[in-house]
């Protein structure tokens, strides 16, 4: 039998995993390499908007048309990753009527369903909109979970025979006789089914074709091959609120500007964003004024945000690209379209194509086009099926019924689990017994943690992004160590401890942007639980110092009584007046009295 042509895909974000799935489904021999976790780059750091295309309906109509088309496809193939919240473009009195009309007209030109709502009608949908708003346009925006989407694409690719290698950084592109023939990767420390190399091990992976799907990092891969890929990385800030102040995507209806969108996402909503060009996609300033800007500007649309609680803030880098010579100065004006750069045509270097630009909503279309391109290069005739075949987890919607009885989970927990797992809910939730709740804020049970660990190895951050455990109000104060405990007995205590420390530090990084008010109280509680109650900051097991155990109280005075038999102290027999109230102490780990 003839061997299938081989393709190497660089990048484990939505585009890379989408390409791997597409090509694997077409029968090609696919290897995907990613330097960190899946979603390590931009995919893991976005606001989760499933575009209707409305945002680009005036300025960038080709992008807008792609968005509405793919918006419909994703609802079909990735139902368990999508929440159709609907979206509003809200006009304030000071915003231009002319632009409002252009937006409406643009939506209609691009085939985006758009309906004008009066201020009263808009506030019926979103009661916390400012009292003085003028009117709004309703569009089919939604929320998409980029982590789940990416993991489902990788799982599907693997099911179709692809090899997925996370923690494998490309350290060179192999060029022989003027042609790209593969890459050199250096394996990093990591665990899980997608990790096969030893840390530090260098491996040459040869392939008939190489696809560079590294987004904001595409220029760095280009450098290895000796070609220029002029990506213009642009950073954006996103601030996460403690609850869903809005249940609909709320956009400001004005030409462009910072801080003009609120996206409901799971239990939170996310305020975004800014658009500022940066030199290095991995090293740029993250500053408090950006957080302040989100809160102050967006409270013009939703006033309650001014005093609401934020739980953390993060930044992401867009992989913007424009053809050489375009010379756009302001990154907000750079097109959101995507580009295939065939280095054979462009740089006289056959064997590799880069894909740059674009956005999460259109990841599948980008993958389809580049897969078509690769198949053409390799003389393979196979149809794309990714628009029709649902992703793992989205095959059967009858699972989204009430899980309370089926799994012995209280209704909200069962429902949340089923929403995240989609058609895999039966399989996953029945896999563990008993199945206690690990993360109370996000209602994540042991079964879901264990399922995520199947692909995460010892990386709790990967478990986190798959399940949302530790991403709620308490930011892991109550559940970080519980998540780590789930690594045992497969992994030893030292690994459990190291994984816990990694997760805790990662949570801390984003929390620092939200440390005031109620969230500072929450942080102080977290500090007490982990440093005072658990002594994790001074853990004697972590240090080198030998402890002289004999110098400490050995409980001698109480030795007569160690049988635990009641000593009959008068105080102990006193009334325990409050025990009746303790049922209410079951509340999750919120700050005292705050829930």
């Amino acid at each position: 039998m003839k061997k299938s042509p081989s393709v190497l895909v660089i990048g484990g974000g939505s585009t890379g995993t989408g390409i791997a799935r597409d090509l694997a489904m077409r029968g090609l021999d696919v290897t995907l390499v990613e330097k960190g976790n899946l979603t390590h780059g931009t995919t893991g750091r976005m606001h989760g908007l499933l575009h209707s295309g409305g945002r680009y309906a005036v300025s960038d109509q080709p992008s807008a048309k792609e968005c509405i088309e793919e918006n419909r496809v994703l609802r079909r193939i990735a139902g368990h990753c999508v929440e159709m919240t609907g979206g509003l473009f809200v006009q304030r009195p000071e915003d231009s009527d002319e632009y409002f009309e252009q937006k409406l007209e643009g939506c209609r030109e691009c085939g985006i369903p758009a309906e004008v709502l009066s201020a009263e009608e808009a506030r019926e949908i979103e009661p916390y909109l400012a009292k003085d708003i003028k009117r709004a346009i309703k569009v089919p925006d939604g929320a998409v979970d980029p982590f789940r989407l990416c993991v489902a694409n990788a799982a599907s690719a693997a099911e179709h025979g692809a090899r997925i290698e996370t923690h494998s950084e490309v350290t060179d592109v192999l060029v022989e006789d003027g042609e790209v023939v593969g890459v050199e990767v250096t394996h990093q420390t990591g665990t899980g089914p997608y990790v096969h190399g030893e840390p530090g091990e260098v491996e040459e992976i040869r392939a008939d074709y190489v696809v560079n799907a590294t987004g904001a990092w595409a220029g760095q891969i280009g450098d290895f091959a000796g070609v220029d890929v002029e990506v213009r990385p642009s950073k954006g800030v996103m601030t996460i609120m403690n609850t869903r102040q809005v249940d609909t995507v709320v956009n400001r209806c004005r030409p462009k500007g910072d801080a003009d969108i609120i996206v409901p996402h799971e239990t939170t909503c996310i305020l975004g964003t800014t658009d500022e060009e940066v030199e290095d996609p991995e090293d740029y300033p993250e500053e408090g004024w950006e957080v302040d800007l989100m809160i102050e500007t967006l409270s013009e649309l939703v006033p309650m945000l001014a005093d609401a609680r934020t739980i953390r803030t993060f930044w992401g880098v867009r992989p913007l690209y424009e053809p050489p010579g375009t010379g756009t100065e302001d990154p907000t004006d750079i097109t959101r379209e995507f580009f295939l750069l065939d280095h054979a045509d462009r740089d006289d270097l056959p064997g590799m194509t880069s894909i740059v630009g674009g956005k999460l909503t259109t990841y599948r279309m980008m993958a389809e086009q580049i897969s078509d391109h690769v198949c053409e290069k390799l003389d393979v005739e196979a149809e794309c099926r990714t628009a029709d075949v649902p992703l793992p987890g989205s095959e059967d919607f009858t699972v989204l019924r009430d899980y309370m009885d089926d799994f012995g989970l209280r209704s909200p927990i069962g429902r949340r689990s089923a929403q995240r797992l989609g058609s895999r809910a039966d399989e996953v939730l029945n896999s563990v017994d008993p199945n206690p709740v690990v993360c109370e804020c996000e209602a994540v049970t042991r079964a879901e943690i264990q399922d995520a660990l199947d692909t995460a190895g010892t990386e709790l951050n990967s478990v986190r992004i798959q399940t949302r455990a530790s991403m709620g109000n308490c930011q892991g104060a109550i559940c970080c160590h519980r998540m780590a405990n789930e690594l045992a007995p497969e992994y030893d205590e030292e690994t459990v401890r190291a994984s816990l420390d990694d997760l805790y530090q990662e949570r801390w990084k984003g929390e620092r942007h939200a440390m005031w008010g109620t969230q500072l109280s929450q942080t102080a509680l977290k500090h007490l639980l982990h440093a005072a109650t658990m002594n994790r900051d001074e853990d004697p097991a972590a240090g080198d110092a030998d402890i002289d155990f004999a110098a400490f109280d050995d409980g001698d005075a109480s030795e007569d009584d160690t049988s635990g038999v009641a000593s009959g102290g008068a105080v102990a027999d006193g009334g325990r007046r409050r025990t009746a109230d303790r049922a209410s102490d079951d509340a999750p780990g919120g700050v005292d009295g705050d829930n």
Binding site: G408, L409, P434, P436, V437, V438, R482, E493, V496, Y504, Q505, R507, W508, K509, R512, G517, L520, S521, A524, L525, H527, L528, L529, H530, A532, T533, M534, N535, R536, D537, E538, P540, A541, I547, F549, F552, D553, D554, G555, D556, A557, S558, S563, G564, A566, G568, G569, V571, A572, G574, R576, R577, R578, T579, R582, D585, D586, G589, D592, G593
Partner: protein
Amino acid sequence: MAITDDVLVIGGGIAACTAALSAAEMGARVRLLAHKKSTLRQASGLVDVLGYAGGDGPLSDPYAGLDALPEGHPYRVVGEDGVRAGLQIFDEAVGDVYRGGHTDSNALVMTHGGAVKPTARYPESVAPGLASTSGDTLLVGFAGLTDFDAPVAADHLAAAGVPFSARGVTVEFPKRFRADAKVTRFAKALDRDEEVNGGTVRSVLADTVAEEIDGESRVGFPAMLGDDHDEEVRAELSDRLGVPVFEVPTGPPSLLGLKLEDILFDALDEAGVRISTGNPAVDFEAADGRVETVIVDQKSRPTPYSAEQVVLATGGLVGKGLDSDRESVTEPVFGCHVPHPEDRYDWSEPEAFGDHAFARFGVVPDDELRPTDEDGEPHFENLRAAGGVVGGADVAREKSASGVSLATGAVAGRLAGEEATR
């Protein structure tokens, strides 16, 4: 007309209770104004005094570390005498329910994560399990409780070099609960010794664990061995297993913390302290540099409470005795001065367990524990502060949380009581 007492203590945690008991000892008529449940439900129930100071630790002698603390630390204000006075009030209030009072030394106690930590007083139920005493140890965890993984905790103890062998096993609790049941539900089942297949909860649990014992001389469980009838539960399990049984302190909801709260409130009753709970102090009236009345919001009706002396023991950031916004940190009842860096990014450090400024936020006491203004002058002649609202200590990293509350509570309460009965 205002409700009138000699001393009014605002707060409901360890510091407030200690201040009230201390003032009552002086013969004052004392009222405690507690708003919500105290933060004790989130605390382990251990009474830390000082475990780490000046880069040293774990300290076997907490008093040896006092001089290494920075100037302005509450322990530096009240001195060793203040620390001892706090512990004395505590020991008298809790009686035999707590241990450790027989010595100045800290004990090393295992925590539910498995790390050991130095502490000065520990519940009787924890005593048989000290890490600073020998005795091969079996830790027992439950498959349905995620907070305590016994094998991980045991291996963690071993990694710290404890002078005994430790082993952990995970067993099924004799009774099945809903997947998200909390420790309180487990404790109730043991309290009531509910009927299960093959016997009762206690007997079946003992049978299960007996099979796991392999020469160990003590057996530890997460702190959930009963609530109302905890001593009975522990005694029965010890009896059936033939070795001492102990509890490992846990995080929230912490039964040991809740029990301590009950004990302290019983002691308040016994000392004749009047207790008003459920409503927040929101404002005050002052004249001639003295607080005259504290205004309590009773279901939106402002109600005045007047007293000769007032002790502010409303807690720190967690207990909401301190408040903050993006620009500033404040003490919300009296508006006392709370120093803090101007830029909120300087309130914390990039390292999760770094030397965070926020951990030391609080009012600045004078040598009589009166909160001072920016010029170092007391805000009010008759207002003192105790516990978490007082700044200058990172009680989490020092392992000094309860100790600071006890010491400042004892001294503020004594001074208030003396002044009021003068």
